[in-house]
């Protein structure tokens, strides 16, 4: 009769086996997250667990800010106040002009029979901190789903587009900056209406227009604005200025680099603009809805009955 020696020291599976188990679990999670984005539920639950610690960690910085603000000198405040007042006068003039232009545009749109876009107000938010990830360009803002921030919304500052909300938590949201390597934004050249897509340049802090023909009509100094074709970014927001165009006969595409207009990597206060119009359904979904329609189903059933009877 065979028997193994009694286990004196129970220590579970061997360390190497454990390492293989946890490493393969991590690799599986990595693939699920990077390739298929299936792990969002787990991430939300874990983020909820980490939330109190994060809130506590940001606290000292905000307290220091508040104390520093209290002791900031009066001269500085007065200068700032005067500057802001001047800006307000400028801004109110342009608001009046804008309102007149908007009224005109709406009238023209009505005349042309185009559906009116409904506008909604932005959600002001403060940038809390840069995400602790040296491989991506992301910031965390202090407004989340409970304030109405939705994933996919555009984030702008007083000059132009800063980025896009990519992930939302209850009281905070993660904004991917325009300069992130995986971020893209549909743009239009203000001068001639040429459409393109601007991709983030990563570490360089620039944007790049890819897949533009070598003879595309674009030159250094051109301003790029959002085209609004994706239904997420409102049209006409400033995005970037073209700084360099390299046309090489060896390549069929031009290499076009642009400097972001807004303070993408600096600044503190931003505005979250939720997507303007609900997205139109895809053709297949619309087709499926029509098939489910009772009126659409009747003739087929009648046909089947006729076939059974025959």
């Amino acid at each position: 009769m065979e028997h193994s020696p009694p286990p004196f020291f129970k220590r579970g599976p061997a360390p190497l086996v454990r390492l293989a188990f946890f490493a393969s679990l991590s690799l599986a999670l990595l693939v699920l997250d990077a390739r298929f984005r299936y792990a969002e539920g787990l991430r939300q639950a874990l983020a909820l667990a980490a939330q109190p610690l994060q809130a506590l960690a940001v606290l000292p910085g905000s307290v220091v800010d508040r104390i520093a603000g209290y002791f900031s000198s009066q001269v500085q405040l007065r200068d700032e106040n005067a500057g802001l007042r001047r800006q307000l006068v400028d801004a109110s003039q342009s608001v009046q002009r804008l309102q007149a232009a908007l009224a005109d545009a709406e009238q023209l749109r009505r005349l042309a029979g185009v559906a009116e876009r409904y506008r909604n107000r932005g959600i002001p938010a403060e940038i809390l901190y840069d995400a602790r990830d040296p491989y991506a360009r992301k910031v965390i803002i202090g407004r989340g789903t409970q304030h109405g921030v939705r994933a996919g919304s555009a984030v702008v500052d007083e000059i132009g587009v800063v980025g896009q909300v990519t992930r939302t938590h209850a009281g905070a949201a993660e904004v991917t900056l325009l300069t992130d390597k995986d971020q893209a934004i549909p743009v239009q050249v203000q001068r001639n209406g040429l459409r393109a897509v601007a991709y983030g340049g990563g570490l360089s802090g620039l944007l790049e227009l890819r897949y533009m023909a070598a003879n595309a009509e674009i030159e250094a100094g051109d301003r790029l604005v959002t085209s609004g074709l994706d239904g997420l970014y409102p049209p006409g927001l400033r995005v970037a200025t073209v700084v360099r165009v390299e046309r090489d006969a060896a390549n069929s595409f031009a290499r076009i680099l642009c400097q972001p207009a807004a303070g993408v990597e600096r600044g503190r206060f931003v505005l979250v603009l939720n997507a303007e119009a609900p997205q139109t359904p895809y053709p297949e979904e619309a087709g499926a809805q029509r098939e489910r329609d009772p009126r659409g189903g009747k003739p087929r059933r009648a046909h089947r009955k006729a076939a059974d009877g025959a």
Binding site: R18, R43, A47, R132, D133, Y135
Partner: protein
């Protein structure tokens, strides 16, 4: 714990103290340090410490869970820190007997190698997922973390040190 140096007898560790230290390390990691590239990974440091000191209590499972929490908190790929911390814990447990043989600065050198290895694995994972290499300054943070090793070992061992009682009446 070298052969020629006297060694203090420590009190047994309390699990609540280990949990508290991990919570504090996570908290320190979530603090928005100003040059974010230079901020050492406090969780990795604390994990290395407990894996070296208490390899029976703190192991790969703890490391993996801490990694998942770090992933969710930092917005990195889910599983990145989990993988890195599991490997780090395994290496630290394997080397624990050897590391404790050295003086504090010798231990810090070993820890520097471990933390650099962990940062290298993280970089490999992100490069495989399509990120750009953010430059060699990436490896400054682990070195800074290893330089904090003496402070960490002083702080984390503090509750285990027995106060020295000088008993004048004792015969021996």
């Amino acid at each position: 714990m070298g052969p020629d140096r006297p060694q203090r007898i420590l009190l047994p560790v309390r699990v609540s103290w280990i949990v508290t230290s991990f919570a504090a390390a996570l908290l320190l990691n979530f603090v928005p340090w100003h040059p974010a590239a230079l901020a050492p990974d406090f969780v990795a440091l604390t994990l290395t410490f407990w894996c070296v000191r208490q390899p029976r209590l703190v192991g790969l499972g703890v490391a993996w869970l801490l990694g998942l929490l770090s992933d969710a908190g930092s917005g990195a790929l889910l599983g990145q820190h989990a993988l890195v911390y599991s490997l780090l814990a395994f290496a630290a447990i394997t080397l624990s007997r050897r590391i404790l043989w050295f003086s504090v600065w010798g231990q810090a050198l070993h820890v520097a190698v471990l933390l650099l290895f962990a940062q290298g694995v993280a970089a490999l994972v992100r490069l495989a997922a399509g990120a750009d290499f953010p430059g060699w300054s990436l490896f400054a943070a682990p070195l800074l973390g290893a330089a904090l090793w003496p402070v960490a070992s002083l702080l984390l061992l503090a509750p285990q040190r027995r106060p020295i009682e000088v008993d004048e009446t004792r015969p021996l």
